[in-house]
Amino acid sequence: PCVRAGEGWACRAVLAEGHQRTVRRVAWSPCGHFLASASFDGTACVWRRCGNGFEVVATLEGHENEVKAVAWAPSGTLLATCSRDKSVWVWEVDEEEQEFECVSVLSAHSQDVKHVAWHPSQEVLASASYDDTVRLYREDEDDWLCCATLEGHTSTVWAVAWERSGQRLVSCSDDRTLRVWQCAEPGDTAGTGTGDTGTGTRAPGWHCVCTLSGYHGRSIYDVAWCGLTGAVASACGDDAVRVFHEVPAGPAEPVTFALLTLHCSASVRSTSVEAEPSRRKSPSVSFSRHMSRIARAVLPVSFRE
């Protein structure tokens, strides 16, 4: 099936009055009534539907420079932002006041933080950074702390995505690999410990259980994990979107993923998606219209579910 920009999609609103610089990422709240936007102007805005448009209900200030990402926790009462200032901030909504208060400033990374993503069901946060690591955070008494550092990538980690169960994470990097991480104790998503110890060891904490290398020709800028089928999609600087499916394996066997490649043509005004014939029934990958302007660079990827 083809998805062409312009067909079946109409621009409903242009939100031009909130930011002074590049808008880097947007995120819908779980309830769908609010939209958060992260900007290079150093702020994140929260918008609410208002008639045919949207109005700003809050501006989250405090980061020292460009905000790279914003994400809503599944409960809808927490937001996370991350920035080139190396920090991750957690904000809480005050329902009555319709205000956002900063609950924690986490400075665990040593470099620019590119992305944040919440666990699908728990208040556990993951972040990806130019310092080559993924970090996890959880609440502890009256503050938040970094409870795990996932090391293994050899260059900037651009994004992370959680598996629907919350037991695994996938990260994508400048080093052209995807890495799948798993927590040794099921349910212990907030366990401590660091990453890559190879297969066979069962130390508690997060480990890299699968590294997909050799598939991508350039930096991988975004990754998504389908909540329905378990497929993993990547957006790469080599002009391709790739979808991987996990190969079924027994509990003691290593984790592997097999590749299903979808190509983007270089003339990106009309992008087409061709599936391998045997895979025609796979979930479709949706492309933002925005993507056509970025072409080889940042390429947001998400599953339409």
Partner: protein, 371 residues
């Protein structure tokens, strides 16, 4: 080592009480012993002072500044809330991130480190019959941001081309020095303590916690001077977390004074946001960048084997163990105001003991976008 490098100069080291408490906890000594042994260890330098002395000036000036601001709040919307100025982590962040909006609210009173700089390169230099550039002034501080503070252009003496504070070392860096020399502080003989003027007093402290006690001193002083109320012990009410607390002075159901402590950036952020929305209820906020305050500064010694909470509590216990003195009662401080600063509230006192801030313009070049 500083002395070796600057043989022609008189070397003075000013030690902060927070650094001393951290060293005492690590070396398992009392505060007095630590002060005396540290003095001995540091002495290839000429003098070792305690910044508790200069803190008296910061507290007195802050108290007075608050009264001035309180009294002009009707016609100056930026007078209140007044925000503390002793923490350079907070100051640098405020200048960079909030700029000209927040600067009018920040107290102009210098920090104890910088007051000490002015005293050492000013009063003390004169007493020693030396120009300021013939003194090399080192401070020992609980954090790294104090190095940034010392390097501010506002604290550079143009006439003599010398800084008020030439070098800042952290508590941890002092420990490294001890280790490099193979010296255990406990084994060092005690030396008598130096003072800038007058006879050597015992070690003293100030009420109000490990970050200087600004809230408590300003609160008590304002209560007395503005409302004639004598405040005994101060009751704190914890808000969202342990680093955000408030204090009120009430009479007949009316709130006369409403102060807060805000430590750590998450709390600083919330205070600034309230301020921006015109919803800040406080007259004064003691703002500090480090959660749990200066005793928990980034340059303090991390003890091994104990949980960090316990080690911090030990440092706090030691710090609190000194008798609290009242700045107004310090004889040496009064004399300095009278004889060197031109009198209490004089133009010279204001010029020597206060500073200013500068909003930082952010680079906005589209060419430098990094995704």
């Amino acid at each position: 080592q500083a002395a070796a490098a600057h043989e022609q100069k008189l070397v003075v080291v000013s030690v902060s009480p927070q650094s001393r408490a951290s060293l005492a906890a690590k070396c398992k000594l009392g505060l007095q012993e630590t002060a005396q042994k540290l003095t001995k260890f540091l002495k290839s330098v000429h003098y070792v002072f305690d910044t508790t002395f200069s803190r008296n000036f910061s507290l007195l000036e802050s108290q007075q500044e608050f009264l001035r601001r309180f009294q002009r709040q009707a016609h100056d919307k930026k007078a209140l809330p007044m925000l503390a100025s002793a923490c350079p982590g907070w100051i640098c962040y405020a200048e960079k991130t909030h700029g000209s909006f927040i600067i009018p609210h920040i107290s102009t009173t210098k920090s104890p480190q910088q007051v000490m700089g002015s005293l050492v390169k000013g009063y003390f230099a004169e007493q020693q019959h030396l120009p300021p550039d013939r003194i090399y002034h080192v401070t020992v501080m609980p954090c790294y941001d104090k190095k940034l503070e010392a390097s501010r252009p506002d604290f550079f003496n143009q006439e003599y081309q010398t800084r008020d504070v030439d070098c800042v070392i952290t508590t941890g860096e002092v420990l490294k020095l001890l280790e490099q020399e193979g010296v255990a502080l406990a084994d060092v003989d005690p030396a008598p303590l130096d003072t800038m003027m007058g006879a050597a007093p015992g070690l003293g402290g100030h009420a109000g916690g490990g970050s200087g006690g600004y809230l408590e001193h300003i609160f008590r002083h304002a209560a007395r001077e503005l409302f004639g109320i004598h405040v005994g012990s101060i009751h704190y009410r914890q808000l969202r977390n342990k680093d955000f607390q408030e204090v009120t002075l009430e009479r007949d159901g009316q709130v006369l004074l409403h102060f807060a402590l805000a430590y750590g950036f998450r709390n600083i952020q919330n205070v600034v946001q309230k301020l921006k929305r015109g919803k800040c209820p406080y007259h004064y906020v003691e703002v500090m960048a480090c959660p749990s305050g200066c005793l928990n500064g980034g340059g303090q010694i991390r003890l091994e084997g104990e949980s960090s909470k316990e080690e911090l509590q030990q440092v706090e216990r030691l710090y609190r163990s000194l008798k609290a003195e009242v700045p107004e009662d310090n004889q040496a401080v009064r004399e300095l105001y009278q004889h060197w600063l031109g009198g209490w509230g004089s133009e010279r006192a204001l010029s020597v003991l206060h500073t200013q801030y500068h909003a930082l313009e952010r680079a906005n070049s589209a060419l430098s976008i990094k995704w």
